[in-house]
């Protein structure tokens, strides 16, 4: 699936494009690619090229850097402060804060909204981002801030989103978070996580695309064990994928 590493400026040869099963389906360009009419596609990120012939999609895999919000990503956010209409949340350090409206929780009304203290964690979905230029963005608002939601916009159900109580958060690489979420059919990437964790343990977990995993396995010891296994799996994966060796120091 993954071919050679692309560098920014490289042109994608037509041979590398996925052979769509359904020719009427348009080709979807994912992150890291740019289409120059009529037929040139160039990379503007470095990384391996991934294609998906089923969806007729093509993108460049990129692991690292800072998390950039995209609509419908699942993320773990920290509440910073509460305002009349919404909470301000942080997705990652040194990035602009995001908004989580008080009413975007399951069955929340003006009177029965969850009270979240600064520092609490929520598992949420990105509802909209300020930038509408991105190709994958389906719904964009003109709001200058990224907006989050904890309900499914059509059903009004939480679908596993909402405040996270207890447990511990671990930082993982963005690529690993994406991989965990991609594999799982259910929400929260729990299936993806289970592939890396030995069977026979019960635990709750939530994976955020912003590179954070929340784990609660009941006891402190189990939580630490699960969390460390995830982090180590991330480390192994990064090691194999990028061949990160010792930085030469002279």
């Amino acid at each position: 699936m993954a071919s050679s590493i692309l560098l920014p400026g490289d042109t994608i040869p037509p041979s590398a494009l996925p052979h769509a099963k359904n020719p009427s389906k348009p080709l979807t360009l994912g992150p890291g690619l740019r289409h120059t009419p009529p037929l040139t596609i160039t990379a503007h990120l470095a990384g391996p090229l991934h294609t998906d012939s089923k969806k007729n999609a093509i993108w460049v895999e990129n692991n690292g850097g800072r998390y950039i919000p995209h609509p419908s990503d699942l993320i773990i956010a920290t509440i910073l402060s509460s305002h009349p209409e919404s909470y301000t949340c942080s997705l990652s350090p040194y990035t602009p804060p995001t908004l989580l409206p008080h009413l975007s929780f399951e069955s929340a009304t003006k009177k029965t909204r969850p009270i979240l203290l600064p520092g609490s964690l929520v598992y949420a979905r990105i509802a909209s981002t300020p930038s509408s230029t991105h190709l994958t963005s389906s719904s964009s608002s003109s709001s200058p801030e990224t907006e989050l939601e904890c309900i499914h916009p059509s059903t009004g159900k939480a679908d596993g989103l909402g405040p996270l109580k207890g447990g511990m958060v671990w930082d993982i690489s963005l690529g690993f978070a994406r991989e965990l979420l991609k594999k799982g059919d259910g929400v929260a990437g729990i299936e993806g996580v289970k592939r890396f964790i030995g069977e026979g343990r019960g635990f709750e977990c939530a994976v955020g695309r912003n590179g954070r995993v929340w784990v609660d396995a009941g006891s402190v010891g189990d939580t630490v064990r699960v969390g460390r296994e995830i982090v180590e799996a991330d480390g192994r994966r990064r090691g194999s994928e990028w061949g990160r060796g010792e930085m030469g120091f002279r």
Binding site: P96, G167, M168, V169, G221
Partner: protein, 292 residues
Amino acid sequence: MPREAEPSLNEREFIHQALREQTRIDGRALDAFRELRLQFGDERGVVDVRLGKTRVIARISAEVVAPYPDRKFDGIFTITTEFSPMASPAFEVGRYTSDEIILSRILEKAIRRSSAIDTESLCIIAGLKCFFIRADVHIIDHDGGLVDASCIAVMTALQHFRRPDVSVEGENVTIYSLREREPVPLSMLHHPLCITFSYYDSGEIVLVDANRLEEQTREGEVIIAMNMHGEVCQISKFGGTPVDALVLLNCTNVALKKVQTITKFIQRQLEEDMRKRDVGGLMAELSAENER
């Protein structure tokens, strides 16, 4: 607007709870250091210290200058610290954070004021010429324990460093280049190291070598600088939740053990590096001297 990530409530509570159960999130014992790795540069006096994810590079350089007029018989030794924005977005160029001030002050007190270097030995001609030894500390990656790592880096680099040999005939000073004469090690009086203790629950729980997350959630810290002979070179507890005096005394006992272990580790690494450099057998006698 954008700011440093504060640990979430969940993290704070979990870390506290785990510590009460004698567990640390990275699986260490409460009084265990992270893995310490030393890497020496090709040049003498360059050391790359890694303590877990924290990484500090120290470099020693020497030049010949005129001594301070009020200290005619002493050489000059300074330590400068550089928090590069590389280590953490919290650091900005040209702005001193209190972390940086504390780090530079503690290194100053632990190493320079405790006279780890015999500055008199750096004097070449009284009042006219002396060596100016400069230790530059660069923080490359910040995951807690900066003071401990920087102190290890400076002390190791000082022991690794060799200054050019000089000879004095009356007023004439000859400074020999590396080829002319084997450079000489600095004369060290003792080897102080810093151990930072982080405490929780008013001193009920005391940790050694906290990582960044633990540092952000702790109630206070005590930094103790000691050498392996049991001499305390400085203690700093800048406020924080008050703890019992006995806890602090206990810390000095733990610090002594840690300092002894780390000092031995540094010695071993230095010797190993010496062996590597000594492939040709040219420096046989020097390495013997170094074993002292």
